[in-house]
Symmetry: C2
DNA sequence: TTTTATTTGGGACATTTGTCCCACGCCCTG
DNA sequence: CAGGGCGTGGGACAAATGTCCCAAATAAAA
């Protein structure tokens, strides 16, 4: 449920340690509840999560919000916007303390061009995300109850995931009421 | 609704014209209804659509199937499997005559490594797909009726899209009955 | 042309999900 | 301590969606 990418973090860690990235990378820390990107706003940086968790949300009419994904260690934020040169497609908000490496978009694109290993890692990261996003979307339409249950079992992580029932419901794309029903009297 | 990518097609066309790809690329033609990939099966090639349309579907229990996307000119098939070295994540079937360039996975990865422009184009293709997949997933959860209507209006393309009502319903993630209700007596 | 299958459209009812509303428990602050 | 805000849990009813089934229209096959 929480996506991670140890490989990317390792690459960045090494590059930073070697001093190869010079001034283009700096560490930044965010407290819980802080907003890194606002859907529709332009962006100027790319972040690599060193530790902590963020949630990416999408909203259409400001009322309800849909949670696209939870991202943890090694995950990259803002890379899509850097690559496509488009405004932020989703809002990204921390749901725990967050430690990151921050890099401006130009440096990111540069690194992508010059560092073959990094390039391959980002390609794979995006491919994996695409698969996850697509299968989740499909499962949500195909399974309904079963998937909910399966997912809620998978929520062993739930205890580690500092999120509210409302957020879980947003993730499942249902209302809080419905979630409660599923959690409560399983039998009709 | 039907995704396309003129840029990629142009790049491949040029490479083929220049003869830079040698034997690694060949043209292949498929008739309507043919299956290029089967979900879960291993793959060995990557395809570039020259003309025609395919639908990518995902199924969980073989009963219902969810349509992930319709792909047209310039779109790439099998690139995710090549990059991640995983089995096909979805089934891909032609819904019209299809003309393609076919390339084995190794050559594809090679081209990705050697050709900066191609690399950038694929990166952007995947980023765009990710955005589309994610926003569609989100909208499907957030909008319900409105989105359906909006989408069905967008189905001006409907006439060009040789698909059945059942396929439209699969795309929307609803049953055929529900689709008919939405199309028919709009008012309760 | 007749027959058979596919596609389409819709009625009737069960099930699911959403909406509205209320209540309890917890934390925090005045 | 009292009151406000928030997260949680659930009852009751409305609305949406699925399931089952049937019928007309269209396309494909005999």
């Amino acid at each position: 449920m929480i996506r991670k990418s140890p490989l990317i973090l390792r690459i960045i860690d090494e590059l930073v340690a070697d001093g190869q990235l010079g001034q283009s990378v700096l560490q930044r820390h965010f407290s819980k509840g802080h907003s890194l990107f606002a859907q529709g706003a332009s962006t100027s940086n790319v972040y690599f999560i060193r530790s902590g968790i963020v949630k990416c949300t999408f909203t259409e009419d400001q009322e309800k919000e849909y949670i696209l994904e939870f991202l943890g260690e090694g995950e990259v934020l803002g890379e899509i916007e850097a690559i496509c040169k488009t405004p932020a497609m989703s809002t990204v908000r921390t749901i725990s303390e967050l430690s990151t490496y921050m890099m401006d978009k130009t440096s990111f694109l540069d690194l992508l061009r010059r560092h073959a290993g990094f390039n391959a890692a980002i390609l794979e990261l995006m491919a994996v995300r695409l698969v996850n996003t697509a299968t989740r979307s499909a499962r949500q339409q195909l399974n309904t109850l079963e998937h909910n249950l399966a997912n809620l079992l998978e929520v062993l992580e739930y205890e580690r995931l500092p999120c509210t029932k409302q957020e879980l419901a947003d993730y499942l794309g249902i209302t809080l009421r419905s979630l409660n029903r599923l959690l409560g009297g399983r039998v009709v």
